[in-house]
Subunit: 321 residues, 3 copies
């Protein structure tokens, strides 16, 4: 006989603080599409290693997004698995990186993380008929809009904290250090951190999620570097992971999460990683005139496009849930 | 026993001119999502008070859009309720405001209003599966495209009639007159009119649609002003209603039309009004490089996003039809 | 009794080379929405007449796209009808025209044509619920992204091969030669070729697809020229077909393929041709700040918008399949 509603409610309440912390840690892991606690914990550790500002805003954003899901009474399993927290994590990081750690940025991070959870619900409604998920699009939309609008507001805008924009041209001679730096930085750039040892910590976290996830991330990063080098990208952008992070995410998503483990699927994931790398340059050029940000759009658009095609390609197989 | 089809047809024909005029007046009201004749009449009166050009092009656009729906044999109830006319109303106003009252503008307003009705049908097809409606998107698309293309055509383009663009920066000290001007101008800016007493007439029209509609518009306007002030917007843009009109529309849509009257829903509507206000700055910056126009996109995108989320948020309730 | 699977497979294999060539020729025809072999052959002939680069890249792109569909095991009937090859045809032409015939361009054309086939599948998934088809959107997306990203990569970018951009302003006095040049160039500009006798060859090809197709293309071209002249477009852009090719495609799509042969439908197709002509100027202005390309977007967006409206317009009838 099931426990009466009130009793279950009070029991849940007892476990609430721990459950909430677990959902937040898992939320950080979901940026890389992983729900394992240990993976989330190592990713979060990497973010604090990258700097207290990054660590704090990532934690704040994930916590606010997760709390919003609770307050709005949204799906408990999704919330517990971190599926309603990851967009807040990236929103927090993107805002402090783009606007600096001013009082207004804290407020914007809170507001943005609330809206990120709402937008996750909206996109789920819109994408579900096609068998697609929101990925990091709620974050990209919210942060893109906020960073775009920020200079119009005196209490938000205190000048660009990164006055030297990432170049899209430069020297293309690639040294060995560019390659291995780029390999790890690609993993950390998923969180907009370009420190190779943060990428190493994060890759260790992904290893705990399983060998396929590790392989997906590693081969994705390698495919991104190879594509960028073959097309003739500036070595500086290869070294700091700019041409790798979308490939890493596509590698994980197509290589280890959404498709079965077959040779055909693996080749398809590598095609996706290469496409996302090229798309990174295009979107950066596209967003330049109005000061927009590429964020993880190349990963999102590539994954949506390639997953939407799968039902019509008999050689490919969706992962069996 | 129902009257034979032929007889009912002839009777309808008898009433056609009156019915058509009613549909046009209601069409003006539907810009604010209201079908009540008296509301439409006061909104239309406000437009003529704002100037004969505005009044004429609003009337012309609504009439052409409504007539198009008739000629194409589209849904009679929707047509009678003004649901196929409101996009023509805004298209007419936007074209005369952006291009001046030249002969070519009259032609463009007619063509644009015809296409606005067609686009309303298209968007209804695309949005219906998600339980969303077209809102003012047909107008925004048609007018945006026309204003963007206008300078390429000699017979259309006679120079910018408003050479001084609305600034996105300026003094942020807010006076009392800025606040009450902005409160009413936000209501009239829905129709791209920045005259406070036109806003007052329109608010009176909205009052006839019911207390919830009045409250939605008034609290929306207040929320927009408050958000813009809190973020540090230039006081000039607050006073002329630029940061209020999208919040007014969101206040009406979420606060009085699409959701039930609960405290949770009201807070959600206020969140939406604040989000639309911030989004106004972002879209203005986005459109600036190619001379695009913000129109009512912030209202549309915010309302679509927030309404699409509702099915996944148990704390919120859609309005029971 | 049907032949055993293995036997049928081997028979198909025997016919493979011929079947593949047929699919490629039909693929060229599908750019104009036609599956007839003779039509495809004349269009392809026109492309080789326009120059070996155009002919080669068009053939290469169509062949790679078609081969991709085979390798991925996609729908055999669609592949044989050229429905998975046409986007590769335009991708090849657009890349050689925008980037020049460098080694990197060949590679990009191969990669782009592979992705065009994948994207055709994606868009089919996304559009099918609305009764819409992908049209040339896979090409526009892939080529747009590649041309946008190209300047970021040293091995791809060798300077703009067409340094003088198409103007959107200029003399508007129209001579007789502008009109008939424009009439034929509008047909060839569908493939980004502005040579009037190539347009003549192509129109002959379309004539073999039936009188409605010929009429759709011819009246579409005329409607485009008329609209551009009426709006006051520069005569140079009328003469080289820039204001005609989208109208030609809309004329074929709405006038001869997707709608039945009625007077109402024909008028609707002409409205579409005029709208696509105006939209061409808007999108060219829209894409200018970030060096984007208009391609066949005006045709695609107009056709999607007008076809999505049809279910709600009783006066119009979809073609019975």
């Amino acid at each position: 006989m099931p426990a009466p509603e009130a009793q279950r409610g009070s029991r849940l309440l007892d476990r609430e603080p721990t459950a909430f912390l677990g959902a937040v840690v898992r939320g950080v892991g979901q940026v890389d599409l992983q729900s394992r606690m240990l993976t989330g914990a190592l990713l979060l550790a990497g973010l604090w290693v990258a700097g207290w500002r990054i660590g704090l805003f990532a934690t704040l954003g994930t916590a606010v997004s997760t709390a919003t899901a609770r307050v709005l009474g949204m799906d408990r399993d999704d919330t517990a698995a971190g599926l309603l927290g990851y967009s807040g994590c990236l929103t927090g990081i993107a805002l402090v990186t783009s606007l600096g750690a001013h009082p207004g940025t804290y407020l914007l991070a809170v507001g943005g993380s609330v809206l990120a959870t709402v937008l996750t619900a909206s996109l789920t409604t819109l994408l579900e008929p096609y068998g697609l998920t929101a990925l990091t699009a709620p974050f990209c939309l919210i942060s893109g809009v906020m960073v775009l609008g920020a200079p119009s507001f005196d209490r938000i805008w205190h000048g660009d904290p990164n006055p030297v924009a990432a170049p899209t041209s430069g020297d293309t001679a690639v040294a060995w250090s560019d390659l291995w730096h780029g390999f790890f930085s690609g993993v950390s750039q998923v969180f907009f951190v370009e420190t190779w040892y943060v990428g190493l910590i994060m890759l260790a976290g992904l290893a705990f999620a399983g060998v396929r996830v590790l392989l997906g991330a590693a081969l994705g990063s390698a495919a991104g570097i190879l594509t960028a080098w073959a097309l003739g990208a500036p070595s500086g952008l290869i070294a700091n992971g700019i041409y790798g992070y979308n490939a890493v995410l596509v590698g994980i998503a197509l290589g280890a999460v959404f498709l079965d483990a077959t040779v055909g699927n693996a080749l398809y994931a590598l095609l996706g990683a290469a496409a996302a790398t090229g798309l990174t340059a295009s979107l950066t050029s596209l967003f330049k005139p109005f000061g927009g940000h590429t964020f993880t759009w190349p990963f999102i658009l590539t994954t949506w496009a390639l997953m939407a095609a799968v039902p019509r390609i008999p050689r490919l197989q969706r992962a069996t849930p």
